[in-house]
């Protein structure tokens, strides 16, 4: 039954692939003869490699679906993922298209400023390791709500965590869907909507049939492809400049319209409040991303959880160094070549904004410039695979929040069979996929990196404070978490809506009521203060149970005694 459905879903896609292969072969061959640098609308290698990736992941999904029997398999891959695999999978989950294309595009547009983002995106990892990773593994089972509700009242806490999860997933998914649509539109010549539907359909198949096992392996394959492709690109750039960063930077400064200012902090961070607020969102947002937190339940114990963060930090840090080189490489390789630009009638073009497909396409064009159409095809396929893998992780996190937290604990009050819970999760995955397609279509013209920033702000202001306080502070009560968490969630979303990025740029009002694009400094403070204050003021009966439960929780959190063990396969 499962098998038949998997392949039914894959059928139309493969057909579309075949049509693409036969129809576009001539055009692609002709294009192949052109030296690297020309713009290609249809690229045979890209199509072949993308469908090879899809075929491989569908085979894995089929294999995973046969192994996925219990709820533990579906949500947490039976706890049978090794630290190394999980490190790669975390990196796969985290290295989104927004960071690959967005950061290299940001470096391409403004140089050094791109590094500020990548640094911020990395430094959350040590904090996750020091404060929550092993405790999460010791206390939780499938979702981070398991941990928050360990000693607190289940219904309310799981509702809050599910809302926090779904909000983050929604914003993050929109960003990924928009990125996917634009990318495929540019590379495959498919209409935007069609591209978004393909991505949505594939992520539904991965998650609904293969659960965490398939999702993990999709992440691992994608991480290897992305790291390999980005390494090759950076290597080609460095070879061109005789492995001298100075030579690379010198050429970039000569080429870039902003000149030497690309080597220093520019306008990205204009005032101290914005800078700190952005920093907090990037750093602690990571520690509140539900699809990342879920990954800690896939390993056998706390030791493996720690090691996986160490590996992931290494992979991700290395990757961000690569994107920096790639961004500078793109400046030197692309800016003097009009074939990468929308050129005006007089032959003039803006070296930054007129890049075909926008600045986010800098890495894609660079792959063509350094490796020709074959490598362009590879990187295009990798970028697409990257989006697919991240949306699959997000969908699984969202579906788990709906089935494990909302359905099993809140609606059915724990009176539900494992089978039924997993079925609900699969249905949720399908629904989330459909919603993602619709939202991706609606938000076609929003900036990708900005939407990710929004997801991080909510994660840092609701999920992270709630998780940290419930783990570390014995005085935390249900009411405190509920009110504080909601305040963090509402304030972060409200402040983003009132910020210049949305109020002025999206709604078209003249001035924004809230002057900063990133609310984390304020909304995180509100959340922590709220949890503390309302816990302190809480004299209810429930509060006594909550506080009394801390010692037991703390023993398990510190030692792992009584934690959910891996299911052997």
């Amino acid at each position: 039954m499962r098998t038949a459905r998997t392949f039914k879903a894959a059928g139309p896609l493969l057909l579309a692939g075949l049509a693409a292969l036969t129809g576009f072969a001539d055009a692609a061959q002709a294009a192949g003869a052109i030296e690297g640098g020309g713009k290609q609308n249809l690229n045979l290698p890209a199509i072949i490699m993308f469908f090879a990736f899809v075929a491989m992941t569908l085979v894995i999904t089929y294999w995973a679906a046969r192994r996925t029997r219990s709820a533990a398999d579906f949500y947490a891959a039976g706890g049978g993922i090794t630290a190394g695999q999980n490190g790669l999978a975390i990196a796969g989950d985290y290295m989104s298209a927004a960071s690959f294309l967005g950061i290299s595009g940001l470096v391409f547009a403004s140089g050094f400023d791109g590094l500020i983002y990548s640094v911020g995106w990395l430094v959350g990892w040590p904090v996750i390791l020091f404060l929550i990773a092993e405790r999460l593994r010791n206390l939780g089972k499938y979702t981070f709500a398991d941990v928050v509700s360990f000693r607190l009242e289940q219904t309310q806490i799981r509702s809050l965590s599910a809302i926090g999860t779904l909000t983050v997933v929604a914003f993050y998914l929109i960003a990924q869907m928009v990125g996917a649509g634009k990318l495929i539109e540019l590379l495959f010549g498919l209409p935007y909507l069609y591209a978004v539907i393909v991505v949505g359909a594939l992520m539904i198949v991965y998650v609904a049939f293969g659960g965490m096992v398939a999702t993990t392996w999709v992440q691992i394959i994608k991480a290897c492809l992305l790291l390999g492709g980005a390494s090759f690109m950076a290597l080609m750039v460095l070879i061109t400049f005789g492995f001298s960063p100075e030579a690379l930077f010198k050429k970039a400064v000569e080429t870039h319209p902003k000149g030497a200012s690309i080597m220093a902090p520019g306008n990205l961070v204009s005032d101290p409040v914005s800078a700190v607020s952005l920093g907090l969102a990037l750093m602690f947002g990571t520690a509140g991303l539900p699809h990342i937190l879920m990954r800690f339940f896939t390993v056998s114990d706390a030791k493996a959880a720690r090691k996986s963060v160490f590996y992931a930090t290494g992979f991700i840090g290395y990757f961000y160094i690569l994107t920096f080189i790639i961004g500078f490489g793109a400046i030197t390789f692309l800016m003097n070549d009009p074939s990468f630009y929308k050129v005006g009638a007089d032959g003039a073009y803006n070296k930054v904004t007129a890049l075909l497909g926008g600045t986010n396409m800098a890495a894609i064009h660079l792959s063509n410039a350094v490796g020709g159409s074959l490598f362009l095809g590879f990187i295009s396929a990798v970028a697409f695979a990257t989006i697919l893998a991240v949306v699959a992780g997000l969908t699984l996190a969202g579906a788990s929040a709906v089935s494990h937290d909302l359905y099993a604990s809140v609606i059915a009050r724990g009176r539900v069979s494992e089978d039924r819970e997993v079925r609900v999760s699969k249905v949720s995955a399908v629904l989330i996929g459909i919603v993602a397609i619709v939202l991706g279509y609606i938000f076609e013209n929003q900036n990708v990196a900005f939407m990710v920033g929004l997801a991080f702000a909510v994660a840092a202001s609701c999920n992270f404070p709630v998780l940290l306080m419930s783990i570390l502070w014995g005085g935390t009560t249900t009411r405190g978490v509920l009110i504080g968490g909601l305040l963090g969630l509402i304030s972060s979303v409200a402040l983003v809506v009132l910020s210049p990025a949305v109020w002025v740029k999206t709604f078209g009002f003249a001035t924004a009521p809230f002057p900063y694009d990133n609310p984390a400094l304020f909304s995180m403070s509100i959340a922590f203060a709220g949890i503390w204050l309302f816990s302190k003021l809480d004299n209810s009966k429930r509060a006594q149970i909550d506080r009394a439960g801390f010692e037991h929780q703390n023993v398990r959190s510190e030692t792992g005694i009584g934690s959910h063990k891996a299911v052997a396969h």
């Binding site: 500020i116 100075e246 930077f249 706390a302 963060v309 792992g560 005694i561």
Partner: protein
């Protein structure tokens, strides 16, 4: 180990030693990361010209190695923690758990 005695673990001196050692270590490293990162952000916000100073006669600025150093420091700090946690702290945990059997 169906019913571990949480009270006896809680009162186990070695458990208390584990908790205090690990939390001191974790918070110290956490603070180090925060200082490094927000130090970097503070310089960008208050004195961006410091990062724009050129190294020697080239175009490469101080900001480049500093930014790289922040990335590398994140990796090193996680390495330092994992090394100690996976040996010393896990050994203590083993002892505590062992006494419960």
């Amino acid at each position: 180990m169906s019913a571990p005695s949480y009270d006896s673990i809680k009162n186990d001196p070695q458990f208390q030693e584990l908790v205090s050692k690990r939390s001191r270590f974790a918070w110290t490293l956490c603070l180090a990361m925060l200082v490094i990162y927000f130090g970097f952000i503070a310089v960008i916000a208050f004195a961006p010209s410091l990062l724009a100073i050129r190294l020697g006669t080239g175009v490469t600025t101080v900001g480049i190695p500093v930014g790289l150093a922040v990335i590398v420091s994140a990796f090193l700090l996680t390495g330092i923690y994992v090394r100690r946690a996976n040996s010393e702290f896990d050994d203590i945990t083993q002892n505590i758990v062992g006494r419960q059997k």
